[in-house]
Symmetry: C2
């Protein structure tokens, strides 16, 4: 008998790699924060023992969700201005609030609120883009969640930076600070083609190649964006990105609701990752991203929630469901994006986009123990014919019972272990009060 | 001081009528199952007292949801066959299971499971269509939920009926049996234009007029349905319905994803009610119902979940959110179907479609106390800037804390009071086992 750090016995284990597979009455063995073994519970009882054994008899274990597009701090602006045309929403609500209130503490508190929500929804990694990424990194580090912190670059000044050089400089400092951190990585995060000019974009590409980190960028979010780009630059943003050398496997292109037939081959050839944010695209009426068609071209697609101001939650379980449902309607094919494919998009595909798939995104021996447990013994998920389908189409965030990151138990039977729930709710209420006075 | 049956003190009361309104720190007074008064809590303390006073200090009260399209018993087939083309799904999975297993007990158990789910999601009325409507009525009566039971008519035999005359005859008997029941009403429920021929449809219309009850029917669900109708009948189903006299305020036309420009005026002129099932339409890739455009024409639109085999839940909170999000994308307008309008579609508009708006669908003095309480003090709904927006865009079924129907407390702090949760889950598991063997 081998003594190990901890063992989780589960009714089902869904490794995601290989796809479309589940094991029944299996156990997952954790040692030094990593997955040491996955085997039948009967065999496990003979081979391993631990002082910490969890018996999740009605639960499924899946890899923790990877939320590949967030503006976490915007949780404090959840619902501050809904149901408005995009430019009115931005210029009369979001931007004035940001100009007046966004500082280090706002981002630290907002990101902590977002992390609390994400852990409760089964997310173990998030890919963020916002001002004061140092505050977001700090919040993630304190909570123990895995995060890829976006080193935001934008041509315009904010409380965080004067100009694109200043943003880049501060970002690279932050990158240095967290280099080799077990949980925190960084990505270069130019906001969008229409807010970052050519020179900084070229610098960003060269840093991405040098540091081998992703580029996280909004791209082709709306039809308007394309029209204005054609008017200003004489070409579509994706063409400009190609010209600047930004189309590569480093690129995480967020939204991409506007895709021409010729784009599929380009995206595939350059190995670009598409980040699909279906609920934000619906809520802002941005357009429809043709997921099934992208998948046919074997382009890597991951899922993100976007910020809470345009969603209005960071619930990856619900986002995965919307992703699967909407993709069928867009493709006019009810067999498009089946449940297991949606689950891959919400886990391993996100890890690939972030360059973290050697570490996380699936339940495999040797990977870190980033794990989410879902209790399927709920009236809303009875009966269970196939657990992957039950998770994708019927489960809800309250059924997320436990979350481990690097083997550390961060959500224990619905209780957060590293964030004070009462305190963060109180902080959120206080910010809400403040932000109402604009 | 007036002694009353019970009082609910709430942080917010959202009456739905008038629309886009909420009252803060208000109380709702119940007497003999009806709403006696709605007034500021401070005033209430001076005017009313009761042995039963609920203090919901972080909650919003809304009218209970009205789910206007269910096949409740199909909860037992939740997830039995997902991600398949429509005809393969029906002919190789759903129909064989129905042929082999559907009987009185199946419908009673499946409907009870569905009612448990609906109550836990804040639904107080559902509009059902399935075989053995007598079993559905019995299940609703026992649980104490309000139901409009569909008197199903279909040309083909089943365990419930031989032919359309037999279905109609049994349906009318059931109508007689529940006439004047405080909770159970009936609707004539011809399955669809392609499964019910002209003669029974004419009879159905004459009974609807005579008995003054609604007609609940799938209509224009898919493009295929229209193509086949044109091939078979030389006209679109809606034209055939007009010819047969079925277009009227009695008609609840479910789905309507295929609408031509000239249909809007017809639907408006005849006062037809549209039942929008966005998640089912997405999952089966049926098409997009143009909600914002229908609304512009002042056509009454209500929301239904459809059955759990094609959704895969009966969660009206989530359905309402999807309805609001999807409508914006279809209309290419982020200000289309704002939160308050989505809430109306999920409550009062359903009551209107069912001819029950004198009784339920809004929180108004004199109406019955069909009430749902939602706790907004959750990490996922902080901060709250506007409670209607928080409910529609951020709330989740686990935040539904309490449900009253006719003043009776059917969900008490997440516990069902009339259904044994353990028992119904066990029953569902047993049916699941059986149904796996087909």
């Amino acid at each position: 008998m081998q003594n190990v750090e901890s063992i989780i016995h589960a009714r089902w284990i869904i490794p995601v790699e290989p796809e479309q597979t589940f094991y029944e009455n299996y156990s997952l063995v954790i040692e030094q924060g990593k997955i040491l073994d996955i085997l039948a519970t009967k065999k496990c009882h003979k081979k391993y023992q631990s002082a910490i054994e969890h018996h999740l008899n009605t639960h499924a274990l899946i890899p923790g969700f990877i939320n590949t597009h967030t503006h976490a701090a915007m949780n404090l602006m959840r619902g501050i201005a809904d149901d408005l045309p995009l430019m009115e929403w931005l210029s009369e609500h979001i931007w004035p609030v940001e100009a007046k209130y966004v500082d280090y503490q706002f981002v630290k508190d907002g990101t902590t609120l977002a992390i609390a929500e994400m852990l409760r929804c089964g997310t173990t990694t998030f890919n963020d883009m916002y001002f004061f990424p140092d505050a977001a990194a700090k919040a993630a580090q304190e909570a123990g969640i895995r995060a890829c912190v976006g080193l935001i670059v934008i041509d315009f000044p904010s409380a965080w930076g004067k100009d694109s050089d200043d943003y880049l400089h501060k970002g690279l400092q932050l990158h240095e600070q967290y280099r080799n951190h077990p949980l925190i990585t960084t990505a270069l995060a130019p906001h969008a083609p229409y807010t970052v000019s050519d020179e900084p974009l070229k610098k960003i590409q060269s840093y991405a190649e040098k540091l081998e980190i992703p580029i996280h960028m909004h791209l082709h979010e709306t039809a308007d964006e394309l029209q204005q780009a054609i008017a200003n630059d004489g070409m579509r943003p994706i063409e400009r990105m190609e010209k600047l050398g930004l189309l590569s496997p480093f690129l995480m292109a967020v939204h991409m609701t506007q895709i021409d037939d010729k784009d599929y081959k380009q995206l595939k050839r350059y190995g670009v990752n598409i980040i699909y944010c279906p609920e934000s695209n619906l809520k802002l009426a941005s357009g429809f991203c043709p997921i099934a068609e992208l998948h046919k071209h074997k382009i890597n697609i991951a899922i993100g929630t976007d910020g809470a101001a345009s969603n209005n939650d960071l619930d990856m379980l619900s986002e995965m469901r919307t992703a699967a449902l909407l993709a069928k309607a867009i493709a006019k094919d009810p067999s498009a994006v089946p449940a297991h494919q949606a689950l891959s998009m919400a886990t391993i595909n996100g890890a690939k986009a972030l360059g973290l798939d050697h570490l996380t995104g699936s339940l495999k021996k040797g990977k870190v123990a980033d794990i989410t447990a879902i209790n399927l013994d709920s009236i809303e998920t009875q009966p269970v014919f196939e657990p992957i389908s039950s998770i994708v189409y019927s489960s809800n965030r309250e059924q997320i019972s436990d979350v481990w990151i690097q083997g550390k138990h961060l959500l224990n039977n619905r209780k957060l272990t590293t964030i004070d729930e009462k305190q963060i709710k109180q902080t959120a209420r206080e910010w809400g009060e403040k932000l109402s006075h604009i």
